[in-house]
């Protein structure tokens, strides 16, 4: 994928570019908000990474200018502050996701991929399917191999998120934020618990395992290799 990184801290930029290029992505960069806006207007970027605080034009203003110009490229905000106000403001201006520095590269990459491959807005599926697993979003039912599975509302939401990101890595943090709306990290292993219960319901005894744990990274919904 092609990534634009608008970041005034050269060290962060060089590090992210090297890491992204190492896993085969193309990276363009801009050191300030004004240049960032000009480059972001060029076609062909799959995702834009925006530092929240930028010289000349700050990240929030930049993204609202982009959105007003009709450019819908997904935007991931980076910030030094763990402030909720910041996150809400960034998302309200048109940002799509939010990551607090410092972060692990794996977390960053997982979010970039999730954003870049997100189906365009307006495309509303009523049925999500993966392998022999099927989820009807309107009837709120799940079945595997034609056999109906009874899920708790939270398990349903968890599976829906995994289905929407099939084949990609979703991190613990992504699940906490998107499934539970927890913007903090509880000490109790609630993600692990819910994943293992979900696994027990949709996996075991019904063909291959679908939810895979990637140690230190997160989870991924895919067909066993």
């Amino acid at each position: 994928m092609r990534v634009l990184i608008v970041e005034d801290d050269a060290e962060t930029f060089v590090y992210l570019r090297a890491q992204l290029e190492a896993v085969g992505h193309a990276v363009a960069g801009a050191p300030n908000g004004r240049d960032g806006l000009l480059i972001a207007a060029e076609p062909g970027f799959d995702v834009i990474v925006l530092d929240r605080m930028l010289p000349e034009l700050d990240g929030v203003s930049l993204v609202s200018k982009l959105r007003r110009a009709g450019i819908q490229t997904p935007v991931l905000f980076l910030t030094n502050l763990a402030g909720v106000d910041d996150r809400v403001e960034g998302l309200a201006a048109g940002g799509d996701d939010y990551l607090v520095k410092p972060f692990a590269f794996a977390e960053f990459l997982a979010r970039l991929i999730a954003l870049a491959r997100r189906p365009p807005l307006g495309e509303q599926k009523s049925v999500l399917a993966f392998a022999d697993l099927e989820m009807d979003l309107i009837k709120r039912t799940v079945s595997r191999g034609g056999e109906e599975i009874d899920l708790q509302p939270r398990e349903f939401r968890l599976l829906e998120y995994l289905l929407r990101n099939e084949g990609r890595i979703v991190t613990r943090k992504m699940l906490l934020e998107n499934v539970w709306d927890f913007h903090f990290d509880p000490k109790t292993n609630i993600v692990e618990t819910h994943i293992s219960r979900l696994r027990a319901k949709i996996g075991r005894g019904r063909g291959g395992e679908l939810i895979h744990t990637l140690r230190g990274l997160g989870y991924s919904l895919r067909v066993a290799l």
């Binding site: 410092p102 990290d185 509880p186 000490k187 109790t188 618990t193 819910h194």
Partner: protein, 458 residues
């Protein structure tokens, strides 16, 4: 305490103002009494002169001039204090001791007159007295003069002046003296406060303002001042405690990282062992970053800036979602999490922070109880406000430590072995504080009960 400072105090100026106003009213009262006493005595005197003149005139009509003269002499002899003069038509004095008229023509003219006369008493100095006289012309042309000395009036007025003069002087002395005393007392209290403040500025935070008896206003002020000082010194203590706790708590994992990396660097190892060392180091560093993140978050919450985003929320609904999320995780750790959140807890607040508050409380109970424990989340009404309770039947917390568990980095002795950063309950306290809610720990007999009391409707 110099006089000029005393005179400059607000209380003295107030006393002085009252004193001036009070003195002016005493003087005014004196003047009113002075003039009304004069007027009243003269009026009574005039009445007496008119009455006497009427009596003597009718006596003259019945008995004639000669008898009148005898009558006047008899009255004077009987001790009348009025003065008389009876002249016949030819100007001869027939009775009475008043001297000849002190007018230009040497004659009395009918009507009222005031004149200076010389009185000589045998055993006294000669004296000049003002005399008020009523002059009447009788039918045969003779003249009757009846007079009375005005010195009674003047004496009365002098007495009034004297009395009020002393009263005024006493007022001024007592008022000014009282004002000075009051000011001195006031200044002493202020000086005590000032010197306390100076000592505190100089670094002695243990100083407090002495509380004098009585003097309700200043005592209240001093009390408030002292409570403020208590709060400041508690905050400073907490701050000191936090600084050293940060240093202490972060040194341990940093030392661990150092040791691991050094070991990996020195000892020849294979790739897997290197990876293991790096992973462990990363894990430690993430822990340190989490601690910093939590500290920043507490600081941000305590700054109060988040109030701008408050909405109407129901804490019971929020707690229900959190409890449902934690229930299976608690079960996996061998603990039973039950909840009873039927009572609504409507409030104005930040959904995300209240979610974290509830999550931290449940987290705390799960982590600090042995397997098999029960954890209960409840909502109840509490007067106007609501109450959220998270209780467990674990080991509980000693009463002496119950307030301290909300302090940053504070960990009770029995919990030191459990992983944790000692910030979870501090964050709870900060979030509760932001929402004007009170959070406190109670004995659940056995176990720990954390209560969050929401403020009642304003």
């Amino acid at each position: 305490m110099s006089l000029s400072r005393l005179l400059g105090t607000a209380s003295f100026r107030l006393a002085a103002t009252y004193l001036v106003m009070f003195s002016a009213s005493v003087a005014l009262l004196g003047a009113v009494v002075y003039f009304s006493v004069g007027y009243e005595i003269v009026r009574q005197l005039d009445d007496r002169l008119i009455e006497e003149t009427a009596k003597l005139t009718s006596y003259f009509k019945k008995n004639g001039l000669t008898r009148l003269a005898e009558h006047i002499s008899a009255r004077k002899a009987a001790g009348s204090f009025l003065d008389y003069r009876l002249e016949d038509g030819g100007g001869r004095v027939r009775a009475g001791g008043l001297p000849a008229a002190n007018t230009a023509d040497g004659k009395y003219h009918p009507g009222w007159t005031t004149t200076l006369i010389r009185t000589e008493y045998p055993d006294d100095e000669p004296d000049l007295n003002r005399e008020h006289e009523l002059v009447t012309t009788l039918d045969d042309g003779s003249i009757l003069v009846i007079g009375d000395e005005l010195d009674g009036v003047e004496e009365a007025q002098r007495a009034v002046l004297f009395a009020f003069g002393w009263a005024l002087a006493a007022t001024i002395v007592v008022g000014a003296g009282g004002g000075l005393l009051l000011s001195a007392a006031f200044l002493r209290r202020i000086d005590a406060m000032t010197s306390t403040a100076r000592d505190i500025i100089a670094g002695d935070l243990s100083r407090r303002i002495p509380l004098a008896k009585g003097d309700a206003d200043l005592a209240r002020l001093a009390g408030a001042f002292n409570r403020m000082l208590d709060r400041i010194s508690a905050l400073l203590d907490a701050n000191k405690h936090v600084s050293s706790a940060i240093a202490h708590d972060l040194r341990k994992p940093l030392a661990r990282v150092l040791r691991r990396l050094e070991a990996a660097r020195c000892e020849p190892a294979n790739l897997a062992e290197y990876e293991k060392a790096v992973d462990a180091a990363l894990n430690d560093i993430n822990g340190i970053l989490d601690t910093f993140g939590a500290l920043l978050r507490i600081g941000q919450i305590e700054s109060g800036a988040r109030r701008a985003g408050f909405r109407d929320v129901d804490l019971a609904t929020i707690a229900l979602e959190v409890a449902e999320t934690f229930q299976p995780a608690a079960a996996d750790e061998g603990k039973t999490l039950t909840f009873e959140l039927g009572a609504k807890l409507p409030m104005v607040g930040d959904r995300e922070l209240l979610t974290q508050l509830t999550a931290n409380l449940i987290d705390n109970s799960i982590r600090h109880t042995p397997p098999g424990s029960r954890i209960e989340v409840r909502s109840t009404k509490n007067g106007d406000g609501g109450r959220l309770i998270v209780a467990d039947n674990g080991p509980g917390v000693q009463i002496s430590e119950r307030d301290r568990i909300f302090e940053r980095f504070y960990r009770i002795d029995s919990a030191r072995a459990t992983p944790g950063d000692g910030l979870g309950l501090s964050l709870v306290a900060a979030i509760a504080g932001l929402h004007d809610a009170k959070v406190f720990a109670l004995d659940n007999e056995p176990g720990l009960k954390i209560v969050v009391d929401l403020p009642g409707a304003p």
